[in-house]
Symmetry: C2
Subunit: 275 residues, 2 copies
Amino acid sequence: MKILDGKLVSDKIKHKLTKEVNQLDSKPGLAVIQVGNEAASEIYVNNKQKAATEIGLEFRHLHFGNISEEDLILEIIKLNNDDAIDGIIVQLPLPRYMNEELVLNSIDAGKDVDGLTDINLGKLFSNKDCYIPCTPLGITELLNEYKIDVAGKNVVIVGRSRLVGKPMAMLLLNMDATVTICHSKTIDLAEFTSHADILIVAVGKRGLIGPKMVKNDVIIIDVGINRIDNKLYGDVLFDDVIDKVKYITPVPGGVGPMTVVSLLKNTIESYKKRH
Amino acid sequence: MKILDGKLVSDKIKHKLTKEVNQLDSKPGLAVIQVGNEAASEIYVNNKQKAATEIGLEFRHLHFGNISEEDLILEIIKLNNDDAIDGIIVQLPLPRYMNEELVLNSIDAGKDVDGLTDINLGKLFSNKDCYIPCTPLGITELLNEYKIDVAGKNVVIVGRSRLVGKPMAMLLLNMDATVTICHSKTIDLAEFTSHADILIVAVGKRGLIGPKMVKNDVIIIDVGINRIDNKLYGDVLFDDVIDKVKYITPVPGGVGPMTVVSLLKNTIESYKKRH
């Protein structure tokens, strides 16, 4: 089987986490802050809520239709000081009138289970204990589960976002991979992708990667989520590359569930550190 | 001329900075903390002192032969609260018995002119205003001075340190370069270096890069400083590659002076922000 089955692996991990939560003295608490009514955010928050309650976490959903930046930060500070809350995440994107940086960095670094505060991102540079952003963390867990060693491998990442591309690069460097980061300004993308042992694509552009852009036996991690006519597609032409790949993540059912499960893991880790 | 002359450019910048400092109401203050008696540290601190006083900064050298981690942090806190001090740097390496992370992160992020606190490194991820580590910053200044545009270029960095390789990669990504980071676990280093438009080498291994490892018209930035029989050598075999390169930095007189000048610039910037 060529499929890196994120659904299966995440179910297995959730089973383990459920047992772990049962043995704790109290329920770890996860708070998700949502501002506005983006359809995609709605779905993501629901997925997180479902997974969190499934494994026995306390889930608190703070949903604001309209709130000032100042009031939002006050809400975050309340959660920082709330002993029942171990993890705080802000569903992105925030409305344009808000300073995303300012809002994110008002989260206590010890409860920043999305790993997006300056302090946690900075610690990644030094390979120090920190909360790692959930998508990169979930990807490394998935690779681990399939015993895919990245050390010495030529890993090419397409996309340089703060949520995926950049932290993924730091994490993989810390794991001894040789890492190339490509993006929209890369002149000949195929020149890089076609040499990758492991290709991680996080752009959000359906059909970006086809069979001519990858070598035989490549391992592909497709982080793209493109919703078209209510159906989900990755950034990679799955059906066209499947014969060439050694492994590939499907969309949906690949990276997505692993991201959610990493959030749960980080929240439980925070609970343990705080108790 | 193929030489990226860091000495010349840094002199030019120092000249400009001297004028700038003369127009300020008071002298910006730079404090350098040194622990132990490493010969190399001695030289680096002297270079910084010489450059700082040359352009009119107030230079404070705190040199401890032997000090506990706790007392060192107390000294840093005193400097954090000292209004005459705008920049604080800790000369690395610290003695092994000290927790470098803890010491560095006790520096106020606003006075962290070496850009090595978690907060400043984290801000680099998001391309936000921050103090950028002096070597990567100096390298981009040097490239600017010679009107070398990195956007869309294939830049290969050899070395993944927190001081050079990793922040350099983030900085270049923010400048639209396609970036590959190689290191000691990279299996076929030449495969990567030989495709580089711009090659940045920061390993500390004399003779690591020879003519067979680079393509014609490459631009080489040699960050290596290897002291052998009291003579300085870079990581690149300068005489052997000179015919192939478009540009190259010499060692000494390339990246070194640019690093020092970046420290001065960051200190003046901190003074301005604080006044």
